[in-house]
């Protein structure tokens, strides 16, 4: 009986944490908005409702939520074994860039969409995964902190995008920005009205992550190592292998995110893609993941909520000229509060 009560109190506990988090979120933003001399009530309403007032707002929210979902997964999966993949952005860039390279190279062959699209997604998966694997390998083999290595890889990926987008083979010579030529029609995914077709891939990814984490031995091993490294090793789980696999999966998911941006949203490689509201999806992914304590099942919801905030923030800038940095700043503070609250009250009795 008491056990059931305990389980119930756990739910209540989480409710309280997220409740406090949301109230804090709105509170912190309100304070900043008020300090800057804007109308708090208008600002909050714009922030929270823009996504739901028009089909445009909603589709924009979805368009942000999809890459954000993948960026969040990229951080979340390695975070399950307590390592920080700050390189989601770089992995997205690399995945997207390789997708364009392969797409433009194979373009003249005139392959049908049914072959091209899965192939390009596969390119995104493999290249994103391998790019992240570098960090996993450096940790497993050379004990290099993944925070450092993934950030360095971000910068390398950024230059790589530039290189491809300005290279003679791929560039669009008439663009006033590093942009490649357009991918062929058969490489592109379409839209359902305003909603990008990549939402299907996102749903598949959600199911995939759920299945891998909850149904496979791999997921079990990753979860176990994250919860108790000593016990996992005692009971036969290989740490080096697990960390590399976790980074690969994280990177692969980021890679698909990059691929989808390219083949569904832009249709070409644009320097500076995988960014929103003036910051990388990678950073928002880290924040989103930390809010839900790296729980992969909660990621889709968190990513959607974060997108609502981002779309709201854009609208806030447009309509009230409130700087986007306010939202950005607030998010960091909110995550800090949530982490503190969780550390203090979320663990129950230790």
């Amino acid at each position: 009986m008491t056990q059931k009560n305990k389980a119930y109190s756990l739910i209540l506990n989480n409710l309280i944490i997220y409740g406090i988090a949301i109230i804090l979120a709105l509170g912190v933003i309100s304070i900043f908005v008020a300090i800057l001399g804007y109308n708090v009530w208008d600002a909050l309403r714009t922030l929270l409702t823009t996504s739901f007032k028009s089909s445009f707002g909603f589709s924009e929210t979805i368009k942000k939520a999809i890459p954000l979902l993948f960026a969040t997964y990229a951080f979340t999966i390695p975070f399950m074994i307590k390592f920080f993949n700050i390189g989601g952005w770089g992995q997205m860039l690399f995945g997207g860039t390789m997708t364009v390279v392969v797409g433009l190279t194979l373009g003249p062959l005139g392959l049908p969409a049914i072959i091209m699209i899965p192939l390009l997604l596969l390119v995104g998966i493999v290249s994103g995964g391998v790019f992240a694997l570098v960090a996993g390998f450096l940790k497993a083999k050379y004990n290099i902190n993944p925070i450092i290595s993934t950030i360095m890889l971000n910068f390398i990926a950024y230059q790589f995008v530039n290189f491809i987008a300005t290279s003679d083979a791929f560039k669009d010579p008439l663009e006033g920005h590093p942009i490649t030529q357009k991918l062929s029609e058969s490489s592109l995914m379409g839209f359902f009205g305003e909603i990008p077709a990549s939402i299907i891939v996102a749903f598949i990814a959600i199911i995939f992550v759920y299945l891998v984490m909850k149904r496979t031995r791999l997921g079990f091993e990753i979860t176990s190592v994250g919860q108790n490294l000593i016990a996992s090793q005692t009971y036969g789980i290989n740490f080096s292998k697990t960390i590399m696999v976790a980074f690969f999966i994280g990177g692969a998911l980021a890679g698909i995110g990059g691929s989808l941006e390219v083949i569904n949203i832009h249709g070409k490689l644009i320097e500076g893609f995988a960014k929103t509201s003036g910051a990388q999806f990678g950073i928002f992914g880290v924040l989103t993941s930390l809010v839900v304590a790296g729980n992969p099942l909660a990621v889709p919801f968190a990513a959607f909520f974060m997108s609502v905030l981002l779309v709201g923030a854009d609208s806030l800038q447009r309509t009230m000229q409130v700087p986007v940095e306010v939202v950005f700043l607030s998010q960091a503070i909110i995550v800090m509060f949530v982490v503190i609250i969780r550390e203090k009250y979320g663990k129950g009795n230790k």
Partner: protein, 509 residues
């Protein structure tokens, strides 16, 4: 009669819900070498850490020299002339002896008078007969030398009360004799010593008075003239009232059964290199046959953990070989060993045994994740099958939980232990290696676990039962091997059991 130097009155301390000390009264007189004797977990170190200011008591008062003193931090205790040598080295491995000793001492902070201090340190170490190399990094020195350095550090900062927490754990006999000499010098120079140990022999040789603790309570203070081995063994291992003892021990029915001819486990001349916390293993051999519970008795830190671990993870072996059913497992990974019908329950059930945040179901799977029964197409975990296994464990082992989905950390210690042992029974078991499975559990749970071990034995499998509690070992083992300082001291058959003799052997007698 000398005056009371330390007088601890009614001290209680709890860590979370675990009561470590229960209304302790503890007295040390000036000029004593005072032995603080007790089993592991009796609360000796906790009491001393309170005296040293590392822990704050929940209740109680401390009087030093008759004055009530509040000790908030080690700084306070150092100022009051208390020095402590901890069980686990608290030296900085990267520093030399001089640097370590200089740490925290009084005086100006903006200079390093290494040369001057080195002379002072050398003076003190000569005065007390504790020589050591002063300019070598600590990490390159042996445990015995590290200890000398810690003692000198305490004396250097002006200690008139020296607390030694298990100082002999990693000392060889000659080093112990040297320490003994030093202790006498200390007393001559006016330093009072508190000597924490669980080795009766040492107490007999070294101490002028002894306090015996058991399970967070003081059993008795014994003066020098009353000291006797038998009395101390009784105080340490049993309740004062023998009748209470009898009924307080778990009861198990151990029927005579036929023991198989072929050994399930053969351990052949194995050695493992030691480290700070363990002497390792030195050339150990024994066989375990089907249908027996083979007990290993040892005081903690004498290599017993290595014995348990090296069977599951043979890669730690330095030399020798281990065979299971005649097959060498020398190059096997833990999963290979598990696949041979071996299972393991580790010493520290929370730190080494469970996934804290995981459900009971997930915890039951741990260690079985590669078995065909739970794995579909080599990739997918069959959670239905796992749930069935988990429910079996819950049912068979009386785990008190509404269902198998409950998070492991929501269970009590006893239920966690039952689940861990239950997990070992999930697949056909030829050998169960279990280390301290009953520590901290109530008597009915202990009885239940023993019943399960005996059932396993009765079915023809074997159990390697590593345990600190000698009483329990004697109740449930068919044979008992005694381990001391990484060496096998002897193997007793059930008919040869003699608690006093085994107890003495455990503590190096």
């Amino acid at each position: 009669m000398a005056a009371d130097y330390i007088n601890c009155k009614n001290i209680s301390k709890a860590f979370g819900v675990v009561k470590a000390l229960d209304s302790i009264d503890f007295v040390v007189k000036k000029g004593e070498i005072h032995g603080l004797l007790g089993e592991n977990g009796a609360g000796k170190s906790t009491l001393m850490n309170i005296l040293y200011g590392l822990y704050r008591p929940n209740k109680g008062e401390i009087f030093l020299d008759g004055k009530k003193t509040i000790i908030k931090s080690p700084l306070d205790s150092i100022k009051n002339g208390i020095g402590m040598v901890h069980q686990i080295s608290t030296l900085v491995p990267e520093f030399t002896a001089v640097e370590n000793i200089m740490l925290g001492s009084e005086g100006e902070k903006l200079t390093l008078h290494t040369a001057r201090e080195r002379e002072k340190i050398k003076e003190i170490s000569e005065e007390f007969g504790l020589q050591f190399p002063v300019d070598v990094k600590i990490k390159e020195l042996s445990a015995g030398i590290k200890q000398k350095i810690e003692i000198v550090r305490a004396l250097y900062s002006g200690a008139t009360l020296l607390i030694l927490d298990e100082p002999t754990t990693s000392l060889v006999e000659s080093e112990f004799q040297q320490l003994l000499k030093s202790l006498k010098v200390f007393v001559e120079k006016g330093v009072t010593v508190v000597f924490i140990t669980h080795k009766i022999k040492e107490v007999m040789e070294a101490c002028t008075a002894v306090t015996v603790m058991r399970k967070g309570k003081v059993q008795a203070r014994v003066e020098k003239e009353e000291l006797g081995i038998e009395k101390l063994v009784k105080l340490m291992f049993m309740e004062q009232n023998i009748e209470v003892t009898e009924s307080a021990l778990p009861k198990v029915n151990l029927p005579e059964i036929e023991i198989s001819k072929n050994p399930v486990l053969q351990v052949k001349n194995i050695s493992i290199t030691g480290n700070d916390t363990s002497p390792g293993l030195k050339d150990i051999s024994f066989d375990i046959f089907g249908g027996e519970i083979f007990g290993v008795a040892a005081v903690s830190g004498n290599g017993e953990k290595n014995i348990a671990e090296c069977i599951i993870n043979p890669s730690v072996l330095h030399s020798g070989d281990i065979l299971i059913n005649g097959e060498s497992i020398k190059n096997n990974s833990p999963l290979d060993v598990f696949a041979k019908g071996v299972s393991y329950t580790p010493e520290d059930r929370i730190k080494e045994g469970i996934l804290n945040e995981g459900s009971i179901k997930e915890n039951v799977l741990l260690g079985h994740q590669e078995e065909e029964r739970f794995l579909k197409k080599k990739l997918f975990i069959d959670w239905n099958e796992t749930a069935l296994a988990a429910r079996d464990v819950i049912k068979e082992f009386n785990v008190d939980t509404p269902d198998e989905e409950l998070s492991m950390r929501r269970l009590s210690g006893g239920n966690i232990q039952k689940a861990i042992i239950g997990r070992a029974f999930v697949s056909p078991l030829k050998l169960l290696v279990t280390h301290n499975p009953t520590s901290g559990l109530d008597i009915s749970t202990v009885e239940f676990i023993f019943k399960k071990l005996v059932e396993l034995r009765n079915s023809g499998s074997s159990v390697l039962f590593v345990n600190e509690d000698l009483d329990e070992l004697m109740i449930v083992s068919d044979r008992i091997a005694v381990l001391h300082d990484g060496k096998l001291k002897g193997i007793f058959k059930r008919s040869e059991y003699d608690k006093y003799k085994i107890g003495l052997m455990m503590i190096g007698g």
